[in-house]
């Protein structure tokens, strides 16, 4: 907030002007934004459709230079990128939307992977169910874990929450080692896969990344639509308000604890889903995959992509997965490189690559038309009295068009629904 202390209004106006100049947005970004805003609704949808189709075709096109081959199969690399995208999408709900620093997100990922293993692998003594059923099951189990972790910890703030979640991630990893049923380092083999065969060989196999990639991208698209619906609703507003000022949110009637728990649960479910997908694709799970550095990498994906921007964090996740696969020579240097990149990013672009404030109302586009209309009344159209006299107050007229290029970009989803 800019004006804490009692300022005279003149001072406030100065501060405001400074604030406007202080927006360091690269010009290409603003130009792209206003260009996008000038497209009509169907043009925007068409463009998005093209982008989605291109995303689906990426492993088929296998573009030279971009490809991760020969060191890594490109389709499988694409699957990993998509998987990290999905993880980032889930973690973004917790960190980006509700502002809760979760360092142990890997724990949910692990719980999801183990859920898929326990109910499908021949190494497990449990009853076996079809693999696809383990996806919703993994989500349910992780939500239970998320709520069990959330109820005692979400009363904590900031640093404390970060430390406790960090501990949670480690506890899950250690449990995988200690509890005999989870088979420690030996792990589970031949974990289930979605049904379907072509010429006697399964469509979904560990060596063929393509169907896994398409499946995951489809999941991402569905999840993004649902999360978008959440964002532009009471839930999304509550999360954003909590992130901005938790006490003020509570005093304005937001049941903050309940909504923080909802964010935690949603994030956990998506982490669990991702874990189950990884278990299915690789076909093998043991206790070596769920370490703290990977958890931090997930967080890096969210921060890199831009907290709060769904598509941004998916891209962030993809980048974080892609770089070590493409540049295998990096090896153990990858953490150093990500670290340096993140530090530079925080200095020069602290909102992340694609950080932007999400829209929080279902009818933003409609209201924008209304406000624009009233702020610049056409001849013969009597101005609304209230707005007109409010406009008399100094320094407002210059802003009639601002909403068009301001924070709220894509009108994409007015009435957008699953």
């Amino acid at each position: 907030m800019s004006a804490h202390s009692p300022l005279s209004s003149a001072g406030a106006k100065q501060a405001e002007a400074a604030g406007k100049l202080g927006h360091k947005r690269p010009s290409w970004y603003l130009r792209l934004k206003s260009w996008w805003n000038d497209r009509s609704r169907w043009q925007q949808w068409l463009l998005l459709l093209v982008v989605v189709i291109l995303a689906y075709l990426l492993p088929v096109i296998n573009p030279p230079l971009i490809t991760t081959e020969p060191s890594n199969d490109f389709a499988i690399s694409c699957f990993n990128m998509a998987l990290y995208g999905l993880v980032a999408l889930g973690l973004n709900v917790v960190v980006g939307q509700a502002g809760l620093l979760d360092l142990g997100y890997i724990g949910f990922f692990a719980v999801g992977a183990y859920t898929a293993s326990l109910w499908t692998s021949p190494d497990s003594p449990l009853v076996h169910i079809p693999y696809l059923w383990t996806l919703p099951l993994a989500m349910i189990v992780t939500v239970v874990f998320g709520i069990a972790l959330g109820i005692p910890t979400l009363r904590l703030r900031g640093d404390y929450l970060a430390i406790v979640t960090l501990g949670f991630g480690e506890i899950i990893r250690l449990l995988a080692t200690i509890i005999p049923v989870l088979k420690g380092n030996t792990g589970f083999q031949n974990i289930g896969r979605p049904p379907g065969e072509i010429d006697g060989s399964p469509i979904f196999s560990a060596s063929n990344g393509l169907p896994w990639y398409w499946f995951t991208v489809t999941v991402i698209v569905i999840v993004m639509i649902l999360l978008g619906n959440l964002e532009r609703s009471r839930v999304g507003r509550a999360w954003f308000a909590i992130r901005e000022d938790e006490d003020a949110a509570e005093i304005m009637g937001v049941p903050t604890f309940r909504f923080k728990l909802a964010a935690f649960g949603t994030g956990a479910a998506l982490g669990g889903l991702s874990g189950a997908l990884l278990a299915g694709q690789v076909g093998f799970v043991n206790n070596q995959k769920f370490d703290v550095p990977t958890s931090i990498l997930f967080l890096a994906a969210v921060i890199l992509g831009g907290q709060g921007n769904k598509l941004g964090v998916v891209i962030g996740g993809a980048i974080v997965a892609y770089v070590p696969l493409r540049f295998t020579a990096l090896g153990g240097w990858k953490f150093l490189i990500f670290g340096v990149v993140l530090v530079l990013l925080m200095i020069f672009r602290s909102q992340g690559l694609f950080g932007k404030k999400p829209k929080l109302l279902t009818y933003t586009a409609r209201i924008r038309r209304k406000v624009k209309h009233e702020a610049s009344p056409e001849p013969g159209d009597p101005p609304h009295e209230a707005t007109a006299s409010a406009t008399d107050r100094s320094g407002i007229d210059e802003n009639t068009d601002r909403s068009g290029i301001d924070e709220n970009t894509d009108d994409g989803d007015e009435g957008g629904r699953a």
């Binding site: 907030m1 507003r237 308000a241 304005m252 406000v371 709220n408």
Partner: protein, 279 residues
């Protein structure tokens, strides 16, 4: 002229159990202690439905503390707060708000990155019921509530006179707009009692006048208001009754004309005249 601006009607939409003029909120023997400091010392007063009650006193008298104790921010060490005969003590802050006690903050606490309209939407959501499922699957209720946000939300912004910047980030708004947005956001929760904590702080005299007119209009719409203000001259004009605090104790409780003559009040305010006129 601000009075002309308020053509929109934003009358409360809810039923209130007590009749016009009857006691809506009862504060009884309320005390708040910080460490060794008794910031509020056994303060009692009633707020009647439909009135503007002024809560005045020099800086540090305990006015904000009284608000905080009423709205659940501080836990009083003693005493009770009753809304329509029901005790508010021990309730969660968001419950108290939804039961009908809304407030603004002396030091503005808007959600800075949200637009003005979104800020109001958070207030309106206090009366909404949509949860995860309803929002994700976009049930009719969700759409109904979202539509209410743009109709009533814009009405409220128009009412306080800032509708032209509904889509600007709260932190980009001029100071005066931010103060008004705080009022709109609190009104959005559809309060039975609206508590305003120095809503005109940092305003010049003309702006203060304008704001007091707005507060009057809010009352005329049917709201009950508890107004904190330490500028005594200003409150005289708008309030129906005034409670005066000094060092955490209530020293007077009367109609403005009587407060003006009250020797204890005059003593408390001696040398305090217009302390922030130059701020």
């Amino acid at each position: 002229m601000n009075a002309d601006a308020n053509l929109t009607e934003v009358a409360p939409e809810r039923d209130i159990a007590v009749a016009e003029g009857d006691t809506l909120v009862k504060v009884k023997d309320l005390s708040v202690v910080f460490g060794g400091l008794t910031a509020l010392d056994s303060v009692s007063f009633d707020i009647r439905r439909g009135e503007i009650l002024g809560l005045i006193g020099p800086n540090g008298a305990g006015k904000t503390t009284c608000f905080n104790a009423m709205t659940g921010v501080y836990k009083p060490s003693q005493g009770s707060v009753m809304l329509e005969g029901h005790s508010l003590l021990g309730l969660k802050k968001h419950r108290i708000t939804r039961l009908g006690l809304a407030r603004t903050f002396q030091n503005i606490r808007l959600f800075g990155e949200m637009t003005a309209l979104e800020n109001v939407a958070v207030g309106l959501d206090a009366r909404h019921k949509s949860g995860m499922i309803s929002a994700m699957l976009r049930t009719p209720r969700h759409y109904r509530e979202e539509k209410q946000i743009i109709t009533r939300g814009m009405e409220l912004l128009e009412f306080v006179g800032i509708a032209d910047r509904a889509l600007d980030r709260a932190k980009d708004l001029p100071y005066g707009y931010q103060r008004r947005l705080e009022i709109a956001r609190a009104l959005a929760t559809d309060p039975k009692l609206l508590c305003l904590d120095e809503p005109a702080a940092g305003f010049n005299p003309a702006e203060k006048e304008e704001l007091m007119e707005l507060i009057h209009t809010v009352r005329d719409e049917g709201y009950t208001i508890l107004l904190i203000e330490h500028d005594m001259k200003l409150v005289m004009g708008v309030t129906d009754r005034i409670v005066v605090l000094e060092f955490g104790k209530k020293i007077a409780d009367d109609i403005p004309s009587a407060i003006r003559e009250d020797p204890a009040v005059i003593a408390a305010y001696l040398g305090q005249e217009e302390p922030d006129a130059t701020a």
